[in-house]
Symmetry: D2
Subunit: 330 residues, 4 copies
């Protein structure tokens, strides 16, 4: 069975998903929608499909079997709800929604349907190094995890990438990874601010997260780190540590230096994970079974993000109040 | 246009190509042929196609648009010639043929046709690190290349993997990479033998290659290196060096050690390059244009391999006598 | 002028100092004192000097020009005061004293004398990598420092190495390095505790330190990290980062792994720094001039350590109340 | 017993030895001799001793207990012979002599004396990484050694540093290390030349060395490598490899790069080994026992160097004809 994909959003992520579907996975994209018809058309032209500025028409199109949502964060909710209504599988870019309340409405709608249709784009779960880290943790020979140190740096960001958005859009990756790696929920979040490269935005930020069994993770997120894109993590266990994200690849010796390139952006760093995410999602859609990051994962992350943002104002630890996980997501 | 692929060979490489075509590239494999029908059937079953023990029937099948040859090295010639006769594009595993004479016959047949149909499976050209090495060389700021050091190690090999086969099957990768990187031909080959892990096979081998503009490359090939699969290279230029192949990825600290995994085999190391090779070849087949490693590349490599093997007997340097490159391959 | 050294303490650090003075620096040790005469005698015998169980007799010995104090932390105060009274130069192991109050009394005594005689054993300032880090920071091309991440792990510790002692004995290194690197004072300390490998001791600990110009440092100290001794640091600046402490040296490839040894203890890691500290201190003693880490550095560190320990009880940030730096230490 | 050292030579190596003796090892240098009195005086002044332009007067000075020879290579023979005549211990910079014939005369004179007085400055044997490599080899768990790859690069060299001198002065280090690591003698040498950065000097050179039990080593020596000073080695054994010399230390992330400094010269790289060499030699002199690299090691290296130089002319392998090791050196 060939799956015809409707793609909502032709920004950076939409382009990346569209090209990966068409050129890397030999997949048919039935239509591309973007409120900016020009960029929708440019992408559609490149991957050989139709463009529209009406996302809902793509979702309702009978020729569309499944939908990839890569539009602005605040639009995820109406599009995801429209897909749920029609029973169409969705791969929704993270965050599921920028506030826990909106994410909760999607979660409620899916529970009402009684079956899982939504996968959230936490594509780091598909990264080879994170998977090896999880395997090393689960092997058990290093004991239980005690601490986790995370570094997440972007080379630059627009002037509108404010303190709260940095949490929902970027730190949400670390929130999800911490939940996924440890299999526990986060119970407390603290946002620590020191010197910033901007006056009115906290950048870099240091976020402390505490899990239900007491592991403490510190996350440096630095949106304007200037030097390149880099994601690193070290898990400290009772009998050793596991780390990932060291720059590697080509090495150049010149001018009294050994130089290893750092990837300039997340696409160069995580392209294989994005491809693997789409490939596994297509397999899941074909099989009618959903086993990727769920709406619950999107919701739980949004609740933690809300607590991080609250801590940005209060300056102290903020408890995370997460309801019991519904049966659908066990 | 959807391309239907005929796959000849269901051994390790055939399985890898078949699964990559089917599961990673969403491509239709029309049939799988292997002289061992059981293993052809096992692969065909997994990727949803038909199996046969008659490779020629696959090549002549009107439903087959292009052919991947991954059968035993000595069978490449008849299958490649059969494809040429029908004008079907071919991706032929390296070596094009185990002797320069056989490779020369394929080259002659293709020239007679007057158009390029054959791509040889020198998939290292599709590896990200080798590509970056070539780009760093061509950037020019490090000056001209002077020396190249290569290391190519397999964890183990069967008792029948003899000294000459090690050249045609494995060192051929370094021969091709040296030609591709420098854009020059190899004019002399010397096989140096020291202590060996076997009595009647030279393993490891140290091969010296000299290019037409005087660069000297040393290649360690070690088929039974025991500890893992590893490919490394360092290009020494006038103002610096460029190296690739350092193990990277996950790091584990335990027992007074920092441990970085080494890939156990070439599949783990080069899977992205194999996929990229197939993807680019499919694009080329669709466009009717061939721009990957050509039959000439396969032939030139075979001529150098012949010289290496002659040097294994003589013990001294053996000149490489390569005819002028035919116009078709300019 | 040959300097005759009196050595107080023949425990691990005393032995290391004594052997370094005698075997690496060709220096005369006039006497070794330890309350355990047996171990004093064992060391004295090895380095060719006299042993006693009376430290004060060594300090007052007219043949002793300068004193190295490496006895139990709580005895630093009386011995340092005895040296000050006689005007003898002192190299005192860190901490200067385990409480800020005791360190303050030493500071007051030295000020009363009107000249600097005390150097505190913050030997990381003599480590080549920390020095390069300071040079890289001061070069200025990477901008101002924003964050610092520190990791400090010991392989194991006795059952009596409790939460507060971990601060005064170990985290004091990071406190000093942060002050030394940035040239600023620390104004706030927070001790964060999560899961511990022990029930009644916080191990590992995560300490947050904030400097007067807003830099935030996080310090993981893990006394029972099991796998080896390791000290790492990364300084995050506006236009890049500087890191140190990556394990290096010999690399072994075997069993599908690239293995780099991690030093088993601080002696192996920092022996060159300990030697350089003694060498520079001897030069300073000969010249009658003191320019190493001062009693003020020992005192300021003790004040920050007190705040860390207070935060271990309160759980929240504790302000650091440091008096103005006295003129003697400008 | 305090040892008074006479230092012959106040060039780069003489200055390094003199300063290390005086400032790092607390040792008394009795006199410095150099045919250039000005530079002898400059060094003598800095380390607090006398200067002369008459090396023989230093050797015969009754106040000189032992001699360090760091003068021009061609003068090693007369000075070493003068020391032998007076029974004074010598640390002679490598090479013992630039020709095997001259080295042979020193060896003969020492044998005639009947006791070992000469240590040759093969200071790499005192380098921590080479020692760990030897320990890893001798541990035996990786099996027997099969191949060795060596890289030895200088940033630049004077116009008079010709092809033969590169062997006696620089490749002699690798010749010695190979003999020392494996405990075997070298039986064949081949000099391979490719493209060079100069017209009349072979630079870089690739030297192949074969030991008596069949191990083959390839040595790249590049005197004008431009980018920095670097020494690396990888020993390939039956069940793994051991490598050393990876640049390490500080790492800077900036401009999309992870930058690790490469040492600019041999002093920065090997200062600890030079110091350890002098320290152990002083201990040996005090004890009247010689156990460092011997005149035999200096001679054997000179014989291999002669063969390398002969191969530079002949272009092919040159057998190494080494006499039986005299009993004195067992």
């Amino acid at each position: 069975m060939s799956i015809r994909i409707g793609l909502i959003g032709a920004g950076a992520m939409g382009v990346h998903h569209g090209e990966t579907l068409a050129f890397e996975l030999g997949c048919e994209v039935a239509a591309v929608a973007d409120i900016d018809l020009t960029r929708a058309a440019a992408l559609a032209d490149r991957i050989g499909t139709e463009a529209t500025d009406d996302p809902i028409s793509v979702i309702t199109d009978a020729d569309v079997d499944a939908v990839v949502i890569a539009s602005a964060d605040s639009t995820h909710e109406p599009y995801a709800l429209a897909c749920l209504e029609l029973g169409k599988p969705v791969l929704c870019e993270k965050p599921l929604a920028p506030q826990a309340s909106a994410a909760g409405r999607i979660l409620a709608a899916e529970q009402e349907m009684g079956r899982r249709l939504i996968q959230v784009g936490f594509m780091r779960r598909y990264d080879a190094d994170y998977r090896r880290m999880k395997a090393a943790l689960e092997a058990g020979n290093l004991g239980s995890p005690l601490l986790m140190h995370c570094v997440h740096r972007n080379p630059s960001a627009g002037a509108d990438f404010h303190s709260a958005w940095m949490i929902t859009s970027s730190v949400s990756h670390e929130i999800d990874i911490l939940r996924w790696l440890t299999g526990t929920e986060i119970v407390e979040a603290t946002a620590v601010h020191g010197r910033s490269v901007l006056e009115d935005i906290h950048d870099p930020q240091l976020i402390l997260l505490r899990t239900s069994d007491g592991l403490v993770a510190d996350v440096e997120f630095f949106a304007r780190a200037h030097y390149g894109y880099e994601v690193r993590a070290e898990l400290v266990l009772e009998r050793g540590t596991v780390s990932m994200g060291m720059p590697s690849g080509l090495q150049v010796r010149t001018d009294n230096q050994l130089v290893t390139p750092v990837t300039p952006g997340f696409v160069e760093r995580f392209a294989p994970a994005y491809r693997a995410q789409l490939r596994d999602w297509l397999v899941a859609v074909r099989s009618g079974r959903q086993d990727g990051p769920s709406a619950w994962d999107g919701y739980a992350t949004a609740v933690v993000a809300d607590a991080c943002i609250a801590s940005q104002s209060s300056g102290g630890p903020v408890p995370v109040d997460l309801p019991t996980r519904p049966a659908l997501y066990h």
